[in-house]
């Protein structure tokens, strides 16, 4: 197990190096004139002085190799530059917006795990039943609907239509459709006060795609497990059906789903850009969307960098936990006596 961990961690280094270098390539080598883009974007016609300033600051008129080295020097010392708009440092923006996205993300993942796994489990057990067919359609729909459309629909339903908000529910159950409320949190991610009302809809929206995927994955995995030989053995031992599934089935079925959560995280990141925009939840995603709109390259690059790093770390953790859960990997190969 330890050797696995070490190998896995070592593997990260070239991957991250490659990925971040690739980002450099995208942002600095691809566009026609990166200086122009950074100075304000091609549609804003920045003044030649502004462009010259940017060239100076980022050394963009130097040969590509030097730029590359420079880029890495800056990145390693965590100098992510400044937003061209308002001149705030990217680090500052990061510090402000990242926690908001993390909170939203945590809740989305909680929903994904709880709802996704149970739905998948139940629909596998009741294969071909009505509830299974309904769930299949529901999960398919949830993964087919664009995240932002779902978001707008929820907004519309709660804010405009005579939806649940217009029913006679107590004040605390009225869900908000914009912003973050008083932004009060316990233990970093538990919403208190008014905040939770603002959290529900965005969290559900953000979770929708990955929950659907998790449910389908769990269903598939569980179906495979249900047909496995050791399930038959368990029945032959006299266990009740519930014991068979609970003790022997679920644990095995969940293994591949654990890995999925890691990959899903990437989808969630992408979805957060869209979700946060819809609900005006000013987190990382919202800021990236804004930066895209404003063609604010430094912000885009800086935040993307952070996203890539976070994604890599999460995947690493997921891989290691998978290895831990599966005794075949944890203990290495078989001993033959």
């Amino acid at each position: 197990m330890t050797s696995y961990i070490i190998r896995r961690v070592l593997l990260i280094i070239p991957t991250v190096f490659g990925a971040l270098s690739f980002l450099f390539f995208i942002f600095f080598a691809l566009p026609g004139d990166p200086a122009e883009l950074i100075a304000g974007g091609a549609d804003r016609n920045p003044s030649p002085e502004a462009v010259a300033q940017v060239n100076d600051r980022y050394g963009l008129d130097e040969p590509l190799i030097e730029q590359f080295a420079d880029y890495w020097k800056r990145t390693l010392s965590w100098d992510l530059g400044e937003s061209y708009e308002g001149r705030r440092s990217v680090n500052e923006i990061l510090g402000e917006t990242a926690p908001r996205s993390i909170r939203l993300g945590i809740w989305a993942i909680i929903i994904e795990i709880v709802v996704g796994i149970s739905v998948g489990l139940v629909s596998a057990i009741r294969r071909y039943s009505i509830s299974d067919k309904l769930t299949t359609i529901a999960t398919a729909a949830a993964s087919a609907i664009p995240v932002f459309v779902l978001g707008y629909f929820l907004q519309y339903w709660f804010a405009v239509l005579p939806g649940p908000n217009k029913w006679d529910l107590p004040q605390w159950a009225q869900l908000k459709t914009q912003g973050r409320g008083d932004d009060s949190w316990l233990l970093f991610f538990i919403p208190t006060g008014d905040t939770w009302r603002h959290l529900v809809l965005p969290a559900i929206t953000l979770a929708s795609v990955s929950t659907a995927l998790a449910a389908r994955m769990m269903r598939g995995s569980m179906l495979e497990v249900l047909g496995a030989d050791y399930m038959r053995t368990a029945r032959a031992k006299g266990l009740t059906e519930r014991q068979v599934i609970g003790r022997h089935g679920v644990r095995n079925a969940m293994l591949p789903v654990v890995t999925l959560i890691g990959i899903d995280f990437g989808t969630t990141i992408g979805a957060s850009i869209l979700t946060e925009t819809v609900f005006s939840w000013r987190g990382l995603g919202y800021t990236i969307a804004e930066a895209i709109d404003a063609r604010d390259l430094p912000v885009m690059l800086g935040l993307t960098l952070v996203v890539v790093l976070a994604y890599t770390v999460i995947n690493l953790i997921v891989d290691i936990s998978y290895a831990w859960f599966d005794p075949r990997v944890r203990l290495g190969g078989s001993e033959t006596r």
Binding site: L30, A228, T267, G270, I273, M300, V307
Partner: protein, 309 residues
Amino acid sequence: MTFVDQPEALTGTPTGEAGIADVHEAQPLGRDVLRRFRRNKLAMLGLAFIVLLILAAIFAPLITSYDPIHDRARGQYRDGPSAEHWLGTDTIGRDVFSRIVYGARISLRIGILATALSLLIGVTLGSIAGFFGGIIDSIVMRITDMFLAIPYIVLAIAIATVVGRGKENTVILVLGLTGWLAIVRVVRATFLGLKELEYVEAARALGFSRLRIMARHVLPNALQPVIVYGTIAIGGVILAEAALSFLGVGVFDPTPSWGLMIENGRRDLANAPHMLFFPGLAVLLTVLAFVFVGDGLRDALDPKLRGRE
């Protein structure tokens, strides 16, 4: 799993032996697959929808009465559905229904072409990596890992932001060049697995060249997951294009992309929701159709599911 759980294994001609009469004929694989697919109601529904959509896209001028880009109904801005404009009008008076129908062209074109590009790259790289193994495999895998470290949407958005000037072809390229990642792994895994299989060894023993083996024997098997993935991927690309256009880095106005229509419609969500939800519905139904068809294909092609009533 022993055969007892797969009684259909009992119905075909036993492998290898020349049967004497009375042995029931095994159905050819293709017909089995088609039969199974036809029985899947959702998949058939999806297929029907896609066919309809394609027809609508091709014959768009015949079923719409307005030009999606140029016809602007004066004074009828943000109107809800009516007899004249079946799905209403948008902010500058264009007919929503026409724009959706023409939008189907965009979505289908981008979806199919980008996916085709992804598959081409992915299958080629995957088979090379899987078949040759060794250093080549490592290199391909390292490159893939590197790309994979950047979430798909983020990657597409990044490239599109920097490059895109709103043209359809750019979007196709961007989505095509980022979508091959998932399929490489699958193809590579299939190749790696099949390479060791006995019938490949048998073919080698008979003197077939490696290339021939790869093309004739291994590739058809590897294609099964590719077909399934490709179908579902078309849906994914359509979603991605919608997201890109929504964020402003996909196609630009006045092209009737569904994603763009949604973005245009968001400002008037409260009083003119039709501008957002009709294109939204279009995306949902189209992607759903591809997902159902893809799922149906997978179920139809997967031998493990045979006989499970």
